[in-house]
Symmetry: C2
């Protein structure tokens, strides 16, 4: 397996009375068996396309061709879309670009998931419409924010390139008729199909998540390889204890049921996993937060949040479960030069790799949380790259699906969000158009 | 006042039984009177330097001179520091740079608050050491992460510029001896003093928060003006009901005490306030999260998190208070061109300003939350700029201080974090140095 899940510090035997008794955990874990059976049936019967994605190869070539063209022709690629249409791409693209442009050169991908008017004024002022490509993603093809973004950027691009501008635009949407698809067809955009049976928050392994990152040079096949390893283990599990995602789901649900953990903190020790934690936050919140059920997911980043949230985590209310993702980074990064300040107070740093500091702090935080009786799970990966990130993504999708079954909610719907969308649309429809200027 | 606080949707009269009864709120609000008295005494007796900052002018000229020099001489300014040494600067700098470089030209400020080895390898590969300036911030001058970052970048800069490299480095730290101060003096860095009596999470109005943003062209005096307006109102309040921060603190504490709100969501509808919400998250967590007290702060962003967290907020557990920050953006931004797709399903967007969409969604989310019986406070500002941001910053610092007094905890210490730092340092000290390479 591409990662190791270490659960011992969630139990009373390790952290005292705020941890789980073994029988509490075992009771919940046993309840996960029907969820695993359902996953196996869905996989074998091909009724859940998400589970078929890791083994798919046929859809990668078309996406790769589009990605390579955009990387070559554009200086900037703007990805429009929100929620599940953006966070998966952001998560994967973070492997390719650490804030200074893509490692291998080529176009820089920028994700715009809001309709902030000031941001769009800054964007259109800063980028060159003749060197900007756009990927617009909306599963239904009706998302108001994405359509507004797209109409604004299309008008902007046409001012420079005229009616040819649409040639640098790509849409990902379902095959059925929709405003987005009609717009794309009317303006000569490239269109890739969004799988109608894979909802946004589960779409990271489809072209929705992969295409933006492939512009940055991501090896999509290795992402799917990591995902498939995790899926295989869970499908082969004779018992929930043999499935890491089922164990994770049972831990989480048991800590909520027996220990009042109403929030769950995902805290990777890697800048490149900050967006991953944000992706998880949507996955968990929208899949479980219904009928009064669910727990509140919190995205944190180590070591940064040691200097922001750790006080609360160690000494605030005992209402949280913690998951720290640690990577084998101890030998990585620049060496800290001790000769610059021959200072005895700096001796503990001198000659160490920067990664040793990151690594020591992650492990120290695990121990400190446990010593304060806070339940902490560790997920360890040796090296952060496509395969291990693909494994983490599949782990947390499966964990979320199993947790939903344990809570008795549907992991795939989001009824309250639909209501919010309706209300926003009605509010807008009631507005008069802007005075023409 | 530069903002309006609208509280009616936190009460049972507006949202039903999950809202506060008026007498529950009044009881907590009355308890805030001694906290306001203490603030007045601290202000008049000059025993809390934070409260003197808004009226100070003497420290702005030295900071401005440094900022202007860095903006002129460097292409990139890297700010090193973590927690309160970074988030205030990030918050203010967001007004100057919306992700495409500073509006007025000049150096681009990049905040690095982590010791991720991969990030620092990318940074040193991408930036030009001869055109990069560095601001290193640590109040105590002993923060391990900041010292490690600084040693790495100093060695990198010296490879290019030799011993003159230190001239483009600035340190902000207390006047007393420390590793950071010694390092700064040994290498000819500019040093600005960190006020010893203003802790990191309360330092945004000092040179700690202001200097990085002044590089981007921020008008620091207007930030302080907005802060002083809020402070004056609270100091002049004859009764807690006349202080917006006291009202906010009482709402929050009463919702926790009587309605079980264990988390508090701050959700501004503005990309430029995303870092502000992150700054608040530290302020609230470190100030209140002690002795089992405190509530968990959550940073959200509208409209983005409507597509990620709203399902949980509307239909998950009733354990949250919501604060939405709305700005008067309805008339702003590009107009949505309806002629590009003469599609009846797009008619509700055609001719509207993008800001109208943002505005309508913010207001719709307030109503939707209230309709689901979720307590929502609205903070409305007409225009997001230095003065109104300064007002928000002072509002939330005062609200946090008053809330701490209501909860019976010290808003200014962070005992558990200190313990975590000790453990990390001990772990590092036990490591052997990296094999020299």
């Amino acid at each position: 397996m591409p990662y190791e899940q270490i659960t011992e510090r969630c139990f009373a035997s390790a952290i005292g009375p705020s941890g789980l008794a073994r029988e509490e955990f075992d009771r919940v874990l046993a309840e996960a068996a029907p969820a695993l059976d359902a996953l196996r049936r869905a996989h074998d019967g091909r009724t859940m396309p998400l589970l078929a994605l890791p083994a798919r190869r046929d859809d990668l070539d078309p996406a790769r061709r589009v990605a390579q063209r955009l990387a070559r022709e554009a200086a900037d690629v703007v990805v429009l879309g929100t929620g599940g249409s953006s966070l998966g791409g952001q998560t994967l693209y973070a492997l390719c670009d650490q804030g200074f442009g893509p490692k291998g050169g080529g176009a820089r991908v920028r994700f715009h998931d809001n309709v902030d008017p000031a941001t769009f004024e800054a964007l259109t002022a800063a980028l060159d419409p003749a060197k900007t490509a756009v990927i617009a993603i909306s599963k239904s093809g009706t998302t108001a924010e994405t359509l507004a973004q797209l109409l604004v950027l299309l008008a902007w691009a046409r001012q420079g390139a005229g009616s040819a501008a649409g040639g640098r635009f790509v849409a990902i949407t379902e095959a059925k008729p929709s405003p987005l698809r009609r717009l794309a067809e009317a303006h000569g955009m490239t269109v890739l199909d969004h799988d109608p049976q894979i909802g946004g928050r589960y779409s990271v392994l489809s072209n929705v998540g992969l295409l933006p990152a492939m512009v940055g040079g991501l090896d999509a096949q290795r992402v799917r390889l990591g995902a498939s390893e995790v899926l295989k283990e869970t499908l082969a599990a004779r018992d929930p204890s043999e499935s890491a995602p089922a164990v994770g789901a049972a831990l989480s649900v048991a800590l909520t049921r027996y220990k009042g953990a109403g929030t769950t903190v995902l805290m990777p020790y890697a800048d490149r996993l900050e967006r991953f934690a944000l992706w998880f936050r949507q996955l968990w919140a929208e899949s479980l937060g219904k009928n009064g059920a669910g727990t509140t997911p919190i995205r944190a980043v180590g070591t940064v949040d040691q200097h922001s949230q750790l006080q609360l985590y160690l000494d605030g209310p005992r209402d949280k479960m913690y998951t720290l993702v640690l990577t084998g980074c101890a030998g990585e990064g620049p060496e800290i030069d001790g000769s610059l300040g021959a200072d005895p107070e700096l001796a503990y740093l001198a000659g160490k790799k920067m990664g040793a500091l990151m690594d020591a702090e992650g492990r120290a935080t695990v121990e400190t949380l446990a010593r304060h009786g806070r339940p902490v799970r560790v997920i360890h990966i040796d090296k952060l790259e496509e395969r291990t990130l693909g494994a983490l993504l599949m782990h947390f999708m499966l964990e979320t699906i199993v947790a939903a079954r344990l809570l008795g909610v549907d992991p795939f719907d989001q009824p309250a969000v639909e209501e919010g969308k309706e209300i926003a649309r009605a509010a807008l429809a009631g507005l008069a158009p802007a005075a023409s200027s």
